[in-house]
């Protein structure tokens, strides 16, 4: 017999926590289609800024797949003062469904479009 309200509360919270956690994981396991990592980069051009060492363009990288990508490498290409310039970044882990904030650096403000390409990643 539970003997006071606090014990009842602990039991209630415990059941909800355990059933919720395990239930979610089982649901996730069943609905998981095992899609490979799909890194998607969204450049935040309006948040770009200049600093003494050049030009920074922040970006958000999202994984639309079901699996994590390890050691993900991204390369941004832009044209600056008529010359093509590349900026590379690597991300240790990109979990599925999670966002990672990164920044690309260039020598100056890019002209035209900045393109981002996935160089590669490792599967866990």
């Amino acid at each position: 017999m539970r003997q006071n309200w606090l014990e009842w509360m602990v039991l209630g919270v415990s059941v909800v926590a355990v059933v919720g956690l395990v239930g979610f994981l089982i649901f996730d396991g069943i609905t998981d289609e095992g899609r490979p990592p799909e890194p998607r980069t969204e450049l935040l051009a309006q948040a770009a800024y200049e600093f003494a060492g050049g030009w920074i363009i922040p970006a958000t990288v999202t994984n639309d797949g079901d699996e994590a990508a390890e050691a993900l490498a991204l390369r941004a290409t832009a044209s600056i003062d008529g010359a093509e310039e590349e900026s590379e970044i690597s991300i240790d882990y990109l979990p599925p469904g999670s966002d990672v904030d990164v920044s690309f650096g260039f020598s100056g403000p890019p002209e035209g479009e900045v393109t981002v390409q996935v160089v590669g990643f490792r599967l866990p």
């Binding site: 003997q3 014990e7 919270v13 956690l21 994981l25 996730d28 396991g29 979990p95 599925p96």
Partner: protein, 305 residues
């Protein structure tokens, strides 16, 4: 463990809210004490999304069995029914989940920007060592209709020790081995140790582990250690028990290496190497676990028989 559960046992006679609150604080404290190192382990964070959901569920299932088994074998509130035992164990897991969530929030490992699956995975993994700690703190808050005498007898009652048979002891050994080995299993180190060790070093870990654990349990005169005596069951001999505990440690090590994806695509020699290296740690846990349930009672029990 009988030491740890003693205060809980005597306090449990009183069923006021303040007693429950004290039980809760002890449970959370015990959980953090055991679980904290793994909150500071990078691999634990990463494995929350690197491991498939079913593997995390399986690990939680194993942890739950250990928690139930520990409560059943340790003699803490022995007069409980199975339903009460299960309810206590669910509470242990629930408290662990809440403690793990709060700790991960405080450490900035989960937040609003964390993906749901990632956050749930982190909580689910980190709550495992916490649950062991809660369990050890002897703070299963439940059905406390046991009287103070019963609870106080806990640490010294010969009957308690007699209740832990050779298999019960092995079960506790397995749980403690899991708890110990879990602290290093997620990291890279066992793999590196296994790969880089010379073959004769790997072989040496076996006698080293056997001798040290034999000494810890039967010779070093720790509290809970037992005398070098032969019992009735084939497993009640110091040599066979040590050997069986080592075998259990090997299994636990292999299970953990597999659970953390270290066996995927690995060669047999790599798997054997890392399992042996991790089993060294696991066997220490197994010895500590046997010391805990031994509780000095085994000695009296064997003298009596």
């Amino acid at each position: 463990m009988s030491e740890a559960s003693k205060p809980g046992g005597s306090a449990a006679a009183d069923s006021s809210v303040s007693t429950t609150a004290r039980d809760l604080v002890r449970a959370a404290g015990g959980g953090l004490l055991i679980g904290l190192p793994l909150f500071y382990t990078l691999e634990m964070w990463a494995h929350s999304f690197l491991l498939p959901s079913w593997k995390i569920v399986l690990l939680i299932g194993v942890a739950f069995i250990v928690v139930v088994g520990y409560s059943a074998v340790s003699g803490f509130r022995r007069d409980r029914t199975w339903a009460e035992l299960l309810i206590d164990s669910v509470e242990t897991m629930g408290i662990a989940a809440v403690v793990a969530t709060l700790a991960l929030l405080l450490l900035g490992r989960i937040g609003l920007e964390t993906g749901l699956r990632d956050a749930i995975g982190k909580i689910a993994l980190e709550m495992i060592p916490v649950a062991f700690g809660v369990s050890l703190a002897g703070a299963q808050l439940a059905s406390s209709d046991d009287d103070p005498d019963d609870a106080e007898d806990q640490g010294s009652d010969v009957a308690d020790g007699a209740g832990v048979g050779a298999f019960g002891r092995l079960f506790i050994a397995a749980g403690a081995a899991l708890l110990f080995a879990l602290n290093v299993a997620p990291t890279e180190e066992p793999v590196l140790l296994g790969i880089e060790a010379e073959w004769w070093l790997l072989i040496l870990t076996i006698p080293a582990s056997l001798l040290i654990t034999l000494g810890l349990v039967f010779y070093a005169d720790f509290r809970g250690g037992r005398e070098f005596k032969v019992g009735d069951s084939p497993l009640d001999h110091p040599f066979t028990e040590t050997l069986a505990a080592y075998a259990v440690s090997l299994l636990v090590a292999l299970l953990l290496m597999w659970a953390f994806g270290r066996t995927d695509g690995a060669s047999v020699s790599t798997i054997v190497g890392q399992t042996l290296m991790l089993a060294l740690v696991a066997s220490f846990g197994a010895a500590a676990g046997r010391l805990l349930v031994g509780g000095g009672q085994g000695k009296q029990q064997q003298e009596a028989s």
